[in-house]
């Protein structure tokens, strides 16, 4: 298993290159789960790292770089959506996700289908909770929402997965 973004060494005194090189694999995986696209993940991570690099002297001293970059990635996903909103990205994702009926048989695929159908903030909450293993206050901090909202997002995602798996079980 790859090391998640949160399993990190201390960052005090690290150069940007040293920190980023150690974190980039995890960040790409995290960004992929948030955005649902390899291309979008690369764009989001590159943009977030560029921002972190430009402010590294300040971030490395006074901020928690991992949380900062994760927040940037989530925000970049929102901004990226805005630039392409006329292309109806939600509809595209849903269409693609249900294109292969054979894939529905697998729980892992069911998880991915549920994730793709979730609104972007809910999806980010799910990824932060179940991939990054963050607790609710940490997720609320990153998403800039109240903790009950995060709990609600996660609860609804679990309910959606329950429904998805139930439908799969039905003949």
């Amino acid at each position: 298993m790859d090391v998640g973004v949160t399993d990190r060494p201390g960052t005090a005194g690290l150069s940007f290159e040293a920190w980023a090189s150690a974190r980039v694999d995890g960040l790409l995986r995290f960004a992929y789960l948030v955005t649902g696209s390899q291309h979008a993940a690369e764009d989001a991570v590159q943009e977030a790292l560029a921002s972190a690099c430009a402010k590294w002297s300040r971030i490395s001293r006074t901020r928690e770089p991992d949380a900062y970059v994760r927040r940037m990635i989530v925000n970049a996903h929102v901004s990226g959506w805005r630039r392409t909103r006329r292309e109806s990205p939600v509809a595209e994702v849903r269409e693609a996700s249900y294109a292969d009926p054979a894939a529905r048989a697998d729980t892992g695929d069911a998880v991915w289908r549920v994730c793709q159908a979730l609104p972007r903030q809910q999806r980010a909450a799910v990824v932060l909770r179940f991939y990054e293993d963050l607790d609710y206050p940490e997720i609320a901090e990153i998403l800039g929402v109240a903790e009950p909202t995060v709990r609600s997002h996660v609860h609804r995602a679990l309910a959606a997965l329950r429904v998805e798996l139930t439908e799969e079980d039905q003949p």
Binding site: R29, Q38, K55
Partner: protein, 369 residues
Amino acid sequence: MSDEDTGLEEAFRAGLQRRADDVDTTVSVVPAARAAVRRRRRRRVVAGLAATGVAAAMVTAVVVRDDGHAPGTKDPDGVAVDPGPAEPLPSQWRTETWHGMSVDVPADWGWGVAPTSMSFEPEEQYLCGGPGALVDSDGRNRVNPVETLPWVGRPNMASDLCMQSARPDARAAYVWLGAAIEPGTVDAGNGYTQETVDVAGTTLTVATQDAELRERIISSAGPTDSGCAPSLASAPTVEMMLTEGLRDPSSAQVCAYRKEEGASTWELVYATTLDAAQATTYHSQVYDGGREWAPDFCDTYVAERVLVTIVGDDPYGDTEVTQDTVVDPQCGEVSGSPGMVSPLSAKGMRAWSHNGAQVSLYGLIGPMG
């Protein structure tokens, strides 16, 4: 937590990990990020050189902010000068929802109205109950709009006192959800710029003096992530009641719907999340016992229903459970179990609606005067 929930969580962990393992991590993202930073810095310096020569360029390179915040102003010779510290962006935000769109706004903005048209004059746009905030961010209803208080407006009539909305004399920042305004940017007067964009099948209009704040708000907009369905084919109803109830409500999701005259669907017009205290009060008022229950809501002239989903704990376990309830805001009645409604106390009504719902639902706006 039940075994089933544990299993679902484990399924999420395993499913996400499997997808993550397939990601191509061989791409050169770090060098690309480094190069992007170098290019941006070089562009800034080159721009300074072209405008004012080497000496001025050195000044420009020093004063331009690294984080791309507000651009510098120019002195009479065209040399970039430091505009001083930019107004910091708000640290507290809340999410506002209209139909299929959600957008983040500063948490201290109030609520009011957005332009709407009259049936007898469809080409004109009017603010009926504005400009300004009718309800403070803490839920206090001002009755009369406060023109200098930033607000989030929906295209409702909150008053029969209306004024044309096209006057360029903004006195406070605002966000209008779903206003019938063509995308584009206009001068709203007094240093305010109004920008309208299409988002998720509706419109978002933002007017601020601060370009960065406007960009921050617009860039946060997208398909609704409020947890509420943006549209329903029929009015929400309570399908299930927890036989053992729930304890210790931790939050509640409020999804308010309206079916416009002649429309076939119920559209989301307001959404918010109640905190534990509000959810506890609401829960206690819905299930306080000893009240008369009827099979249906009263007859009303406004088709509005509010789905309030209470989140709490299983009384006999650690599992988180939810209970749907549905409120008719005009009747002041609530359905807390399938096919049964009863009056909801003023305390219960206030618990879920002491917020922007007061000017988002005609059932709460009441007769206009």
